[in-house]
């Protein structure tokens, strides 16, 4: 067992966990933050993407104990009260979802890529968005509206 403390969505959390507890299970089962989904358990699909100290990671392949002391943001922590984050608003407005199962991971990946490209000064054009989404699978939408949503959000962020 490990005593794990970290900051999740701005709040300090702490729990006794078996050493092999995955971050995604800690979030979903211990904290009840079920907006982070599990699609493959093997870091292929991107449904479980959260931010670790502001950077996108796949929470199905990270041990909770290994990120002790760090800050995690999940989809539940993205909006500012009732005001949606521009990426969330864009997915809503541009029909960037159908079943919605991939959506939290897509949004977290989208926010991360916009921030990274902004920081590096590179242009996040359509080709770059597609390339960046290589690790996020959507089985429903055909991606068209997801790319549009990220593109629109990048302009609004």
């Amino acid at each position: 067992m490990a005593d794990v403390a970290m900051n999740v969505n701005g709040e300090a959390v702490r729990a006794e966990l078996p050493d092999n507890t995955l971050l995604v299970d800690f979030l979903r089962e211990t904290l009840g933050l079920t907006g982070t989904h599990v699609g493959c358990e093997t870091s292929q699909c991107g449904a479980c993407v959260v931010h670790l100290d502001g950077e996108a990671i796949k929470s199905c392949s990270v041990l909770a104990a290994s990120v002790a002391g760090r800050a995690v943001t999940t989809i539940e922590g993205l909006a500012d009260g009732d005001a949606l984050h521009p990426m969330q608003a864009a997915f809503n407005a541009h029909h960037g979802l159908q079943c919605g199962f991939c959506t939290p991971g897509m949004i977290m990946a989208g926010v991360d890529m916009v921030r990274r490209y902004r920081a590096s000064g590179e242009a996040l054009d359509e080709a770059a968005i597609r390339h960046e989404l290589e690790g996020n699978i959507c089985r429903c939408t055909g991606y068209h509206n997801i790319v549009r949503a990220i593109d629109a959000a990048a302009k609004a962020m």
Binding site: A47, N92, L97, C99, E134, C138
Partner: protein
């Protein structure tokens, strides 16, 4: 009016904030147990001994269940042929559930399940189509045959005869949310089951049987699924029954979800097919006679394979009139996962067979593939497919003349020395509207739709540009292809074409809506809510959409066959109209007006020159003891079908669409990509164009994936080797076309469907066939030979086809 507006998905806000709940997100009571199956490690054989002591002793294990421990029905089959939840002596595929572990956590259950020691007496496994044919391993007594005219005779007399064979791979659903169920024991032995299922009534029925209870003691609730695509029509039965049996035995809530690998190894997929064909055409490319042999690999249990194989036969014509036709269908039983429903339900395979034949004819005769297809189209509907013309009007004269003119212009093309007519002119004098199953095609709009798509996609100029590119490039070759879709709408099992709804209007004017359809991302709930809002003339946010619940609307059909909004929209409309009529009669009385003149619009009730607020009328009606709750019911009219003889009208109407896809291949590696896709698709008068376009885009990409990157591989032992997204290649974002233009054909359904809309769930998947045809076209550009491309067109398959083209 709320109908026809491009409103976002009703749960979009919940999805983008992570607040939308799927089965595995439902807060569970303390002490909830978790389940996992122990599965077979061989494809076929007898269980000699099963030692589960280590499983029972593993940490956290509460209970282990085998077939002998099941108190009542051990059956999860959706068909009349039984399918055990847990194996009874014999095992039929690698991955078949043998026993059930019930433990304190998901991980504990899975780990314990690995500790079993099972001894088998292995038997030879029947894995391939040829092995099944040789062993006579099949469902039904022999092949099913649908025929019209004399196919063999017509082929014998034809100018050109071609034959060939094509393999069509299966497809893993890969709904992003895996199968899941949660069973909650209630007082008196009752059971409530939350299931990720397209068919709550089936879950209720199977769970009731497994518990030895009447259906009224079991309630199934489905709020949403994270994708279904047909994979949750019957494949959720096992989890729901297992959870319910375990919940009954332990008195605790029981949750089960498949891990992704387990999901892929245990559950069924799209049926793979081999289609052999022989076709006779006239000098102009018109089909005179055609024979198909459809060999369908069903896996080990019957599941839904019979109606799937039927639908493949019913789509063997796609959009083309076949004057003499014979379709023979073999439903083969193999020691593999039981193939199941998948978006299109056999239709895509049947249609693919026909498009493959068209591709072969065009190549062999050196004909323009679009002109060839148009020459074989069914005759245009009178009045353009939107409304019937008065009786006695000449049938489709203009279309026939158009076709004739095309044939004349084609007569100059190489290899087409003779115009059609002659031997088969009496056949040609008949209207070309009859399907192989004797149903008249009354709504055929593809002539006009094709014309428009060719123009908007700039097809001619691009085809020339592709040819010019290919002339100047030895290594890269481009291909372009057009393909049409005609897809029959209705369940072919006629009694399934019914739906119910329950609508309440509360005293404050808010509306609560429930129906038998399930939401899997397709936007059904929003579309139906738009219908309800339109009936009451209120904004859609006044309508509360609630989870599908067998306690509210009973005896529902699966949300399948694209029928969701057709059936449930009509049922909700009927329920709303009952309440509306009561309200209209009530207010009309007060104003001495005719109830028929009362209008519900803009949140107001208009009566006798007054506009009253909807909620005020509702409040008043409540005070005057008017019932504000109603059920609605709908059954699809006009359909009659004899599946044994293959005659009747199985479909209420057809949905149409067409696509042009351009691709490029690397002839050295077989690598390929889709450059551009243009789609024009018919949703009738769309209930929600944004949701419909979403279905079309997603359907196309899923269809193209089926025929290109998605390859299922079993090894010689029957082990599925592609059991994770690392080895099974779902289209990724970079795989979708660089340029993707999707438009809706603008025309009302000529049949009386809900607001004259058309079903949209399945038909667009088959637009993806154009991507495969474009790849075939590119392969053919590599050399003079027939590339004989197989499906899926993986790089290996493309490379083999290029080699054949060059041979």
């Amino acid at each position: 009016m709320s109908v026809a507006k491009p409103l976002p998905h009703d749960a979009a806000r919940l999805h983008v904030t992570g607040a939308a709940r799927y089965v595995d997100d439902i807060p569970t009571p303390a002490g909830t147990l978790h389940l996992a199956f122990g599965t077979s490690e061989i494809a076929h054989g007898r269980i000699v001994a099963m030692d589960l002591n280590a499983v029972r002793a593993a940490p956290g294990v509460a209970l282990v269940v085998t077939a002998e421990d099941l108190p009542f029905a051990n059956d999860v089959s959706p068909s009349p042929a039984p399918e055990p939840l847990l194996a009874t002596g014999e095992v039929h595929f690698m991955g078949q559930p043998l026993f059930l572990v019930v433990a304190e956590s998901h991980l504990a259950a899975r780990k314990a399940a690995r500790l079993a020691k099972v001894e088998y007496e292995e038997r030879p496994a029947i894995l391939s189509i040829d092995e099944a044919l040789a062993a006579g391993s099949r469902f039904e007594e022999g092949p099913r045959v649908y025929a019209r005219g004399d196919a063999a005779g017509a082929i014998a007399k034809a100018v050109h005869v071609l034959e060939g064979s094509v393999e069509i791979g299966g497809q893993e659903h890969f709904y992003l949310e895996g199968q899941a169920a949660l069973a909650l024991p209630h007082e008196g032995g009752d059971m409530v089951v939350h299931s990720s299922s397209q068919h709550p009534t089936e879950i209720q029925h199977k769970v009731a049987d497994a518990l030895g209870l009447p259906m009224n003691a079991v309630r199934c609730e489905v709020r949403r699924m994270g994708g279904g695509f047909g994979g949750k029509e019957s494949q959720g039965n096992a989890l729901a029954c297992a959870a319910a049996v375990a919940a009954r035995a332990t008195g605790r809530a029981c949750a089960m979800r498949y891990d992704r690998d387990d999901d892929m190894v245990i559950t069924g997929k799209r049926h793979d097919f081999r289609i052999d064909y022989r076709v006779g055409v006239d000098a102009g490319g018109r089909i005179e006679g055609i024979e198909f042999v459809q060999l369908c690999r069903c896996g080990w249990s019957m599941d839904l394979s019979l109606p799937v194989a039927d639908r493949a036969m019913l789509h063997a014509d796609n959009a083309y009139y076949l004057p003499n036709v014979r379709i023979e269908s073999h439903r083969l039983r193999t020691n593999t996962q039981s193939a199941t429903a998948f978006r299109g339900f056999g239709g895509p395979q049947g249609m693919f067979g026909m498009e493959r034949v068209m591709d072969h004819i065009a190549h062999a005769l050196g004909m323009d593939p679009v002109a060839l297809r148009r020459a074989n189209y069914y005759e245009a509907a009178r009045g353009g497919g939107a409304a019937p013309a008065p009786d006695g009007a000449p049938r489709g004269i203009s279309a026939k003349m158009k076709t004739g003119a095309e044939l004349t212009s084609r007569a100059a093309a190489p290899g087409t020395g003779r115009r059609y007519g002659g031997a088969y002119s009496p056949e040609n004098a008949r209207p070309r509207t009859l399907t192989p199953y004797h149903m008249e095609v009354e709504d055929f709009i593809l002539h006009d739709l094709t014309e428009r798509l060719l123009a908007t996609s700039d097809y001619r100029a691009r085809a020339e540009a592709v040819a010019a590119f290919n002339a100047g490039n030895a290594v890269l070759k481009k291909g372009i292809a057009f393909s049409p879709v005609k897809f029959g709408i209705s369940f072919t099992l006629t009694h399934l074409n019914q739906a119910g709804a329950l609508v309440h209007v509360y005293q404050d004017g808010s509306v609560h809506m429930n129906h038998g359809g399930t939401e899997m991302g397709q936007g059904l709930f929003q579309k139906v809510a738009q219908v309800a809002a339109a009936r009451f003339g209120v904004e859609v946010d006044r309508v509360k959409i609630t989870a599908t619940d067998t306690g509210k609307v009973p005896n529902t059909s699966a949300t399948a066959a694209s029928s969701g909004s057709d059936l449930n929209g009509m049922a909700v409309q009927a329920a709303c109209d009952t309440i509306r009529d009561r309200l209209a009669a009530f207010v009309a009385e007060g104003y001495q007006a005719d109830p028929a003149t009362v209008r519900f619009e803009d949140g107001k009730v208009h009566v006798g020159g007054e506009a009253l607020a909807f909620e005020a009328v509702v409040k008043d009606a409540y005070m005057n003891r008017i019932s504000l709750s109603a059920t609605g019911f709908y059954k699809t009219p006009k359909i009659v079908w004899d599946r044994i003889r293959g005659e009747g009208r199985p479909f209420f109407y057809f949905a149409y669409g067409a696509a042009v896809t351009e691709v490029v291949i690397d002839t050295l590696t077989g690598e390929n990509r889709i450059l551009r896709a243009d789609i024009l698709h018919d949703c009738g008068a769309s209930l929600n164009p944004a949701l419909d376009i979403g279905q079309i885009e997603g359907g196309y990409v899923q269809g193209a994936g089926w025929l290109t990157t998605e390859e299922l591989v079993w090894d010689g032992k029957g082990r599925l080797r592609t059991h994770a997204p690392s080895t099974y290649k779902i289209p990724a974002c970079s795989d979708r076309p660089d340029i993707f233009n999707v438009a809706l054909w603008d025309g009302a359904n000529r049949e009386e469907t809900v607001y004259r809309s058309k079903a949209v769930g399945e038909p667009p998947l088959m637009l993806g066939i154009s991507a495969w045809l474009a790849l075939s076209n590119a392969c053919a550009a590599a050399g003079p030979g027939w590339p004989d491309l197989q499906a899926p067109a993986t790089p290996e398959a493309v490379l083999a086809a290029v080699t054949r083209a060059r041979a």
